[in-house]
Assembly symmetry: C2
Homo-oligomer: 322 residues x 2
């Protein structure tokens, strides 16, 4: 593993464990401790600290901002799980399952407020700049989630609409996390577009890879393949398939998705995907976004160690097999 990355990740985990929240009401704050402690890749706070290191040569100054973006990310997980009626998150019960929907709703609200409070642990000038990025990002994430729900009611959507949706739902938060760290480190506004291009491409590569892995990944760590197919979820794979099959041909995919038996449904959908070379096309798309990310990185000035680590991170996220 990359040295700077593991150092930063360890720092993030320590900070999350030490995060200060009131004790009571326990039904408001226990769920926050629970979801924050569930683990995860912590990509967003790591990006914040790397963004800071890029400009300042150290990462410690942005630790509260890193916590703010992780708190925000976990807020979206808690509310999204309510909206999706998801029972399990990282192998454990979701907040609304373990407590109740009302508690999930309210502790999620509390997390969004807490994220702003964390963001404010800095000078007024820095808070003002990072809060601007944070609020703009947060509203885009809400828009992305709404589009995701809207699209699920439609028979088909264009690839452009799908990519626009995952950009808002996933990529802009990676971008916001990096930019916030960079601003804390002293980045100028003119530095931000390139950071944005890098992180949004990384985010898109990451999400398409995620869609790919759900159907074609490795099941060696006990992961159930085809979960998205069982849930009837729209992914890059379904959107691309419908595009290739065209109006009338798309009937075949809809019929496959209508199969009641989960095993049969997954088998049939995967067969269509393979016929259409969807696996290779998805890998290509991931590679294209990854290339854009690396090109943006090549133009980046700043701490070499941070740049190398960001480059390593791209390779990790697109090269992963689970």
């Amino acid at each position: 593993m990359n040295k700077l990355y593991s150092e930063i990740l360890a720092r993030v985990e320590v900070e999350i464990k030490g995060i200060e929240l009131p004790k009571t009401p326990t039904n408001l704050y226990d769920p926050i401790r629970y979801i924050m402690g569930l683990g995860g890749k912590r990509v967003r706070p790591v990006l914040t600290l790397l963004g800071n290191q890029l400009y300042k040569g150290n990462y410690e100054d942005a630790i509260h901002h890193a916590m703010a973006v992780e708190m925000f990310h976990n807020f979206t997980l808690v509310h999204d799980d309510v909206m999706d009626s998801a029972d399990v998150r990282r192998g454990l019960p979701t907040v609304h399952k373990k407590w109740s929907s009302n508690i999930a709703l309210l502790s999620g609200d509390g997390m969004l407020v807490a994220a702003y409070s964390l963001l404010q642990k800095t000078s007024p000038e820095t808070f003002s700049r990072t809060a601007r990025i944070f609020s703009d990002t947060a509203l885009e994430v809400c828009e992305g989630q709404q589009l995701d729900m809207d699209f699920s009611e439609l028979d088909s959507i264009s690839m452009e609409d799908y990519l626009g949706m995952i950009r808002q739902k996933t990529a802009v938060l990676l971008s916001g996390s990096l930019k916030i760290g960079a601003v804390v480190g002293g980045a100028d506004d003119q530095d931000l577009p390139n950071l944005e291009a890098f992180a949004e491409s990384l985010g898109l590569a990451f999400q398409v890879k995620d869609d790919y892995l759900d159907a074609f990944g490795s099941s060696e760590f006990g992961k159930v393949l085809g979960g998205d197919i069982m849930e009837g979820k729209r992914t890059w794979l379904t959107v691309k398939s419908l595009e290739l099959l065209g109006g009338k041909g798309s009937q075949r995919l809809h019929e496959a998705y209508a199969i009641k038996d989960f095993d049969d449904r997954v088998k049939e959908v995967l067969m269509i995907y393979r016929e259409l070379n969807i696996d290779k096309l998805a890998q290509q798309q991931v590679q294209e976004y990854s290339d854009i990310a690396q090109k943006s990185l090549a133009k980046m000035r700043g701490d070499k160690d941070a740049i190398e680590t960001l480059s390593w991170l791209v390779d990790q996220l697109i090269g992963r097999t689970i």
Copy 2:
């Protein structure tokens, strides 16, 4: 009606109508326009503008902050209505009833973010001070709502706990609204405790009066009396009754609340209230809080017109009959 008050109220309504929100996704932004347009007393934004006038002699500078607190208040209404499964708000369908719970959840989230964005339409220094008050207030409101839900599971709670809960759920937002306006107007930190004492007492008076009116108010404008009793809601009246009835005696109130027929239940509960003089005790409590508010006001320095209007507002809110 008070001249400054009606001027400010008219300004608030104009600003709410002109509030800028993106058009799409419509399922995210239409519910925000809908709930903001539903009306209401607009007490919170009016307090913000009066707080500003108090120190600056004009109110216009705090207009975005006034919108921020009204946006936050409406966010709490949207999420509270989901939690309470309430179908009607101000005589019209609630957001989750008109759209869906998921849309109410998400557009509520968007409103909380939008509130911070509105708050930021000012200098970094002012934003930093007002955001501190705003976040602290918002977290207290979440705590108050959680306590309200927690208490509803209990057989009885103490008057101290009940008052603590309504302080957090209702009074601190009135206080936060006034303080934010005052800070924009140039108030020092040392001015804030007295503003807080004033607005929190006003909020407590307002809430106890609300509880009183639901049982003993006028039905001349078509308002259904006893709604809280029908819903089995805990109010100042129930808490006080249980306190007076004591352990064994409280059985009588629980039995009255168990009556299935709504008319009979309301009749029986009101009879117990009257026997215990709850109506007069509630009026006394309202008067006590109102006196504290007026005393805090007497100590306040600043624009005379604003102080007079705040005093008038206290009398209005505690003197109202619906």
